[in-house]
């Protein structure tokens, strides 16, 4: 059977701030027999909070330009960012269902010799792994189960919402992301504020980082009240940045110290599949770089080869 191929939409934060996620997903998809194809010349999705709020047609046109790159090659897109997924999936859906918008967008795209045709689909990594590979196949790849490691989840906002249109998962009682993370063998730890925003999204972090951090702090405190966890897993690099580097910023703004290891789900899977942390650069997370620290290997149950 031919390998399943996806165009890999990198977005901004994965390739420019958390490249360990880009490196990890390449390992994971290769292990699972799927191809990730470069999207040459892809730009910002564009950021849904800023562009989507200011001008819908410009937002949809820039998103559609990205979609045309994949349409030309005839493969679906996958992305590991909730925000990019929101822009690309939503624009793709709206352009397929709103003739007036499609006409306006294609008039703009004509200026750069492009046309939105509506021939491809957009998948989040979570989606691609859950629906195209399946949990059973993923479990078979696990050679380093996170046995006894307590795992809190931060699913983020955009992958599942709006749930009636996206029909990915029940955004108020989600289970797909949890089941995917549980293939690693880690123990799921529920906490009251699991489903609130990390604080960064909706252009809040850009507008006022302190308000954004108050959300983050509320999540951390809620998790600690539930007994804490050995790691936090998210499917989004913007959430990862907010929860990871946000700990350094919280210390600066609120003089309170938190020490959580925060991993993208593909970093968790790369480790569970037996890859070493240095193969994809887990130590390059901005929290560790700024604190000059390392992941808590003992708590993560990882024996690091020296």
């Amino acid at each position: 059977m031919a390998k399943k191929s996806f165009y890999h939409f990198l977005g901004c934060i994965i390739p420019h701030r958390y490249p360990s996620v880009e490196s990890a997903v390449k390992l994971v998809f290769k292990d699972l027999g799927m191809d990730l194809l470069d999207m040459e010349g892809a730009t910002c999705c564009p950021a849904p909070g800023v562009f989507g709020s200011f001008d819908r047609v410009t937002w949809a046109t820039i998103a559609a330009r990205n979609l045309t790159i994949a349409e030309a090659g005839g493969h679906p897109i996958t992305t590991g960012c909730n925000g990019c997924f929101a822009s690309l999936w939503d624009a793709n859906y709206e352009l397929k269902h709103d003739d007036e918008l499609r006409e306006a967008v294609n008039e703009n795209l004509a200026a750069i010799d492009r046309e939105f045709k509506g021939t491809i689909e957009v998948w989040h990594y979570v989606d691609a792994l859950y629906s195209h590979v399946g949990l059973e196949t993923i479990r078979k790849q696990v050679t380093r189960p996170f046995k006894g490691v307590r795992m809190a989840l931060h699913p983020g906002c955009h992958w599942m919402r709006p749930k009636l249109i996206k029909q990915k998962d029940d955004s108020e009682r989600p289970h797909i992301f949890r089941e995917l993370c549980e293939t690693s063998g880690a123990e799921y730890v529920p906490y009251k504020d699991e489903l609130i925003c990390c604080g960064a999204g909706g252009a809040v972090r850009t507008a006022d980082v302190k308000i954004a951090l108050e959300f983050t702090k509320q999540k951390f405190d809620s998790l600690l009240e539930a007994g804490g966890a050995d790691m936090i897993i998210t499917p989004c690099p913007f959430c990862e940045l907010q929860l990871d580097m946000g700990q350094v910023e919280i210390q600066k703004h609120f003089e309170e110290e938190y020490n959580f290891d925060v991993l993208h789900v593909v970093e968790l899977l790369a480790l569970a599949f037996g890859h070493e942390p240095d193969e994809f650069g887990l130590k390059t997370h901005l929290q560790y770089m700024q604190r000059k620290s390392e992941p808590n290997w003992e708590r993560l149950g990882i024996e690091v080869k020296t």
Binding site: I13, P15, K26, T43, V50, F54, N108
Partner: protein
């Protein structure tokens, strides 16, 4: 429109990305994790940025987010 949001929009028109590869240290970070120093997105394709500018000009978005005189 808040100034920080305006700046994000301008950054996209200038580089193709809201969070750009704007320092050598970010390229070093990519190299450290075993991938090419510059990703195959608009960071490596100035013609992609040019297309974004043309779109912004066509829709009037460039005027919407341009820096205004006080």
């Amino acid at each position: 429109m808040l100034v920080p949001h305006q700046k994000v929009a301008l950054k996209v028109l200038e580089t193709g990305h809201a969070v750009p590869l704007d320092k050598e240290s970010w390229e070093n970070l990519r190299e450290k994790v075993g991938i090419e120093r510059v990703p195959p997105n608009a960071s490596a394709h100035p013609e992609a940025v040019e297309e974004i500018r043309k779109i912004a000009k066509k829709t009037g978005f460039d005027k919407l987010v341009e820096e205004k005189e006080e």
